[in-house]
């Protein structure tokens, strides 16, 4: 980079490839996510040295080793808290969290909700495979009720979390869902997340080929059109192979309708508004689950709200304005002092 120009070196996905051998199982959905990240990072206009990837423990949490940026592979559940410290120490950094359904919603649940509430400027990618992969196949907080896993041979008796509902309930300002099986859409969501001020939470449906293969099969290419709903701000909610189906609101309940049938017109469909002042619509969308509904993907909510770090540093500036730049000698002498001669 020349000193006189602010132009950045042109980075490519290759620049973000680390020398570490990737150790995920062949066919794991994590590969797709890694590939899209490496594609998106060079396009954001951020110099490589300003990226920091932070993770906890789990298959997803190996992520930082595989991108050639600064990174911390933390301990189980603590990624959001560690990343908070990084961001507060230096808000100039672009700080990303790679976490999983167990890491973020179980052992790290407390950090997860408080990070969202505070709106700390972190990009949080939660790889949801609805299972514990690294510990070899126990059920997770997003595993469906009744599911047989290694630790639930008679079926799970736990009611699962709906990750997006949790995030919205925790005051998240950016909430999105993406699919490991749809790289293009994943890229778009990652880009949107990267540009959001405050916490950007992205749930990524990720296939664990070894312990929970096909968990999201309904969203794979051949069935995707009928089972997912691609959200677009300001556009009516339409889906289906022929783009013939839509979502209508009856009272406070969504309903699947076919446009042109039973007197349903285009105008009757629900229109997406990711910037609504209240998160009611985003919450309603987060409750739509397969097979009763197509599962929405894309940006559910993107609200403008000052980030936590901005508030923190504004206060530092305010303190300096009011009290003056800190003077150590003055501070030590403050309070009632007396002389002994």
């Amino acid at each position: 980079m020349s000193a006189s120009s602010v132009e950045l070196d042109v980075l490519t996905a290759k620049d973000f490839a680390s020398d570490q051998e990737v150790r995920w199982c062949p066919g794991c959905g994590d590969y797709s996510i890694l590939a899209q990240i490496k594609k998106v990072l060079p396009t954001l206009g951020i110099p490589k040295e300003k990226y920091v990837f932070v993770s906890g423990i789990g298959c997803s949490s190996r992520f930082p080793y595989y991108v050639e940026t600064y990174g911390i592979h933390g301990v189980h559940g603590r990624a959001c808290a560690i990343a908070t410290g990084v961001k507060l120490a230096n808000p100039e950094l672009s700080v990303w969290v790679a976490t999983g359904d167990g890491d973020a919603l179980s052992i790290g649940g407390n950090h997860f909700v408080h990070m969202l509430r505070k709106n700390i400027g972190l990009k949080v990618l939660m790889f949801n495979n609805r299972i514990y992969g690294l510990t070899k196949g126990q059920y997770s907080p997003t595993t469906e009720l009744g599911k047989r896993t290694k630790s639930t041979p008679w079926g799970s008796v736990d009611r699962p979390f709906n990750a997006l509902s949790v995030a919205i309930g925790a005051e998240a300002t950016f909430v999105a869902r993406a699919l490991d099986s749809d790289p293009k859409q994943l890229c778009e969501v990652l880009e949107r997340a990267a540009r959001h001020e405050g916490t950007a939470f992205v749930e990524i449906y990720q296939n664990c080929v070894v312990f929970n293969d096909g968990a999201f099969e309904y969203s794979h290419k051949s069935q995707r059109a009928d089972n997912t709903l691609y959200l677009e701000h300001g556009k009516p909610m339409i889906f289906g192979k022929e783009r013939e189906k839509g979502i209508r609101l009856i009272g406070t309940h969504p309903e699947v309708v076919t446009v042109g049938k039973g007197g349903v017109a285009m105008d009757d469909l629900l229109v997406h508004d990711e910037r609504a002042a209240e998160p009611t619509l985003a919450y309603l969308l987060s409750r739509m689950r397969h097979p009763e509904f197509p599962e929405p993907v894309g940006v559910f909510r993107c609200a403008e709200e000052k980030s936590y770090e901005r508030r923190v540093y504004e206060q530092v500036e305010e303190a300096k304005k009011r009290l003056g730049e800190g003077d150590l000698a003055g501070l030590l002498q403050s309070g009632e002092a007396w002389e002994i001669t």
Partner: protein, 624 residues
């Protein structure tokens, strides 16, 4: 009590005393902490050496009048150097029957007992489990009893300020303070200034408190119930500018000072916990010093954020107490593995579990040294007194930065809340701390995050530095490159390197100081907050001609390099601790010396005589 009577022109004679210990005791809502703080301030500003011991219940507002709701503040002020808040009370102010009942046993026979007689109602007597009014019986014979209707006199004094009765009554602590200030000839200016500062915005309250204080002072003068007044001359402390400092204040200032001298932002991540919360509160006031305070959602988040902030280049610190340290241990292991600098303050309290939140103990030493899974060494330091916290937290920061390691600093509830005069250091007395950050230019081709310098410290490479992109984490690291590595020999090597790095700090810390004969019959060895009581007990024994030396330790891991030789120079070693023998265990294991413990676990500091008595016994050849 060392006294000498002096005839003066005043109607009431003044008697000189070298050292006085006084305690204000009352309901937790009676403002005793405030009265005590103001009295110790006035004494310190007057020029005495001062040591204080606040003692309050765990309940925020325990039911009025109950025994468990009594709050006390003890002040020892002296014309000479003192190191403890004093064993026995020369004077006790008891604002109600419960305070009398729970504190009388500490008052010396013949001591001054000031009572708020208005509070000795049937209801209050019952709550304090008195069957008969002690003011009527013989129980208090043998003390100089002064019954003063403090509530009534306070109400009378402030009646024109327009305060409600309830508000007015709250000024009675200042009336009591006024009486005591008169009795011990303290200047009124320091408390008056404080009142104006605190209540200036509400003139009625300002005026009422001022009137109550002055009325108390005048009461002593006019009513002539006291046969003598007392005077404690100024102490001859080293010249300089002084202020009064609690341990927690000293920690806060020390952290700011260290960050400034290192040229770094200070990041303090913490979760509120007694008795460490004041550090978070105090630091949050100093944002203009580039102090970022982060009140985390829990103890684990606090240390985790500190790890992140350290990685990104702040001087980072967290503060907690025992239960919080338990929760932080896994993350501290990560800090050891990633070799990032940070200061972890543990203000110890009585444990285990919730234990005694507001009471002191020294029972986390082993936890600090050995409390994590795996081989997980880190330096452990301790402060000896409230003011010593300043220097020791600064030292902890120095070691953390120089050796790229988390450092645990142990304080305790007694040090945290106690106060003493502190000579304010000049800027030239504070050493510069010099963090060196790696840069692409200095590392040549391919950055090696686990290459080490002569101190075995790895480089600190900040995100944002081009060319130094690297990953740290909890998995074992390959020597030099820092890549994840499970090779058996490498794990052995890295385990030993981490150990050696911490051991190597021994060459960079002062030798253990010993006071008294360099070899002889008995060494009294202590650490942390018991230092004052040990010093006082040993100096008294030495003054009697006993063959005893004493040493109080600030460095607990690694130990000072001369410690083994010191221990071998004495026939007997006594280790008084507020725990069941933790330093004792470490010292015996490390040096194979037959030391013996003196162990107190009552949530209270040692009395000087408890240590003094044991010294006498040992020297008389009595085995423990």
């Amino acid at each position: 009590m060392v006294t000498k009577t002096q005839a003066v022109a005043q109607p009431i004679p003044i008697q000189e005393m070298e050292t006085v210990t006084i305690r204000f005791a009352g309901d937790s809502g009676d403002g005793m902490q405030l009265a005590g703080t103001q009295f110790s301030n006035a004494s310190a500003i007057f020029g005495n050496d001062v040591s204080t011991f606040p003692d309050f219940p765990a309940e925020i507002r325990a039911p009025a009048g109950t025994l468990f709701g009594v709050s006390g503040y003890q002040i020892n002020f002296s014309a000479r150097d003192i190191s403890t808040p004093g064993d026995r009370l020369d004077a006790l102010v008891a604002m109600n029957p419960a305070a009398l009942k729970t504190n009388l046993q500490d008052l010396v026979k013949g001591g001054i007992l000031i009572i708020n007689s208005d509070a000795f109602t049937d209801a209050n007597l019952k709550k304090a489990h008195y069957e008969n009014d002690p003011l009527e019986g013989e129980e208090l014979d043998g003390y100089q009893l002064f019954k003063i209707p403090i509530t009534k006199l306070t109400l009378e004094a402030v009646k024109d300020t327009g305060l409600t009765n309830k508000q007015a009554e709250r000024c009675k602590n200042l009336f009591a303070l006024g009486v005591v200030c008169w009795l011990f000839d303290r200047p009124l200016d320091p408390p008056l200034n404080w009142i104006h500062q605190k209540f200036g915005k509400t003139p009625a309250v300002d005026q009422a408190n001022t009137l109550a204080l002055k009325a108390g002072y005048a009461y002593g003068d006019i009513v002539e119930i006291f046969p003598v007044r007392y005077k404690v001359q100024k102490a001859s402390l080293p010249p300089g500018t002084y202020r009064r400092l609690t341990g927690n204040e000293a920690l806060s200032l020390g952290l700011v000072a260290a960050a400034r001298r290192a040229g770094l932002k200070l990041f303090y991540g913490s979760y509120p916990i007694t008795p460490a919360s004041e550090v978070l509160q105090e630091l949050s006031r100093h944002k203009n010093f580039d102090v970022i305070t982060f009140q985390a959602e829990d103890e684990i988040a606090a240390i985790s954020a500190v790890i992140g902030a350290s990685f990104a280049g702040c001087l980072s610190a967290t503060g907690t107490s025992g239960p919080g340290l338990d929760l932080k241990q896994e993350a501290i292991g990560l800090a050891v593995m990633t070799e990032l600098p940070m200061v972890i303050i543990n203000v110890q309290r009585g444990g285990p579990s919730t234990g005694l939140p507001t009471k002191t103990e020294q029972s986390d030493l082993l936890e600090a040294v050995c409390g994590r899974h795996g081989e997980c060494p880190l330096p452990v330091l301790a402060a000896l007194s409230p003011a010593d916290c300043f220097g020791m937290v600064f030292e902890a920061a120095r070691i953390a930065i120089k050796y790229m390691t988390p450092v645990v600093l142990l304080s305790d509830g007694y040090i945290a809340n106690g106060a003493e005069p502190w000579r304010i250091p000049g800027m030239d007395e504070l050493p510069g701390l010099h963090p060196t950050f790696a840069s692409a230019g200095t590392t040549g081709d391919g950055f090696q995050p686990y290459a080490r310098d002569e101190n075995l410290a790895r480089p600190w490479a900040l995100p944002g530095t081009p060319g130094l992109e690297h990953r740290v984490g909890g998995l074992e690291k390959k020597d030099i490159s820092g890549a994840v590595c499970y090779e058996p020999e490498n794990h052995q090597l890295m385990t030993e390197l981490r150990q050696k790095k911490v051991e190597g700090i021994a060459k960079d810390i002062p030798l253990q100081e010993v006071h008294g004969p360099a070899r002889g019959k008995l060494l009294v060895l202590g650490w942390g907050g018991t230092a004052g009581a040990i010093q006082s007990a040993c100096e008294a024994a030495q003054a009697k001609g006993h063959d005893v030396a004493w040493a109080t330790m600030r460095y607990l891991n690694p130990f000072p390099r001369n410690l083994g030789d010191v221990l071998k120079s004495y026939k007997k070693i006594l280790i008084p601790e507020l725990n069941a023998g933790q330093l004792l265990t470490l010292v015996r294991a490390r040096y194979l010396v037959d030391a013996e413990g003196l162990n107190k676990m009552q949530g209270r500091p040692f009395l000087i005589r408890e240590i003094g008595d044991r010294i006498e016994q040992i020297l008389r050849g009595v085995s423990s």
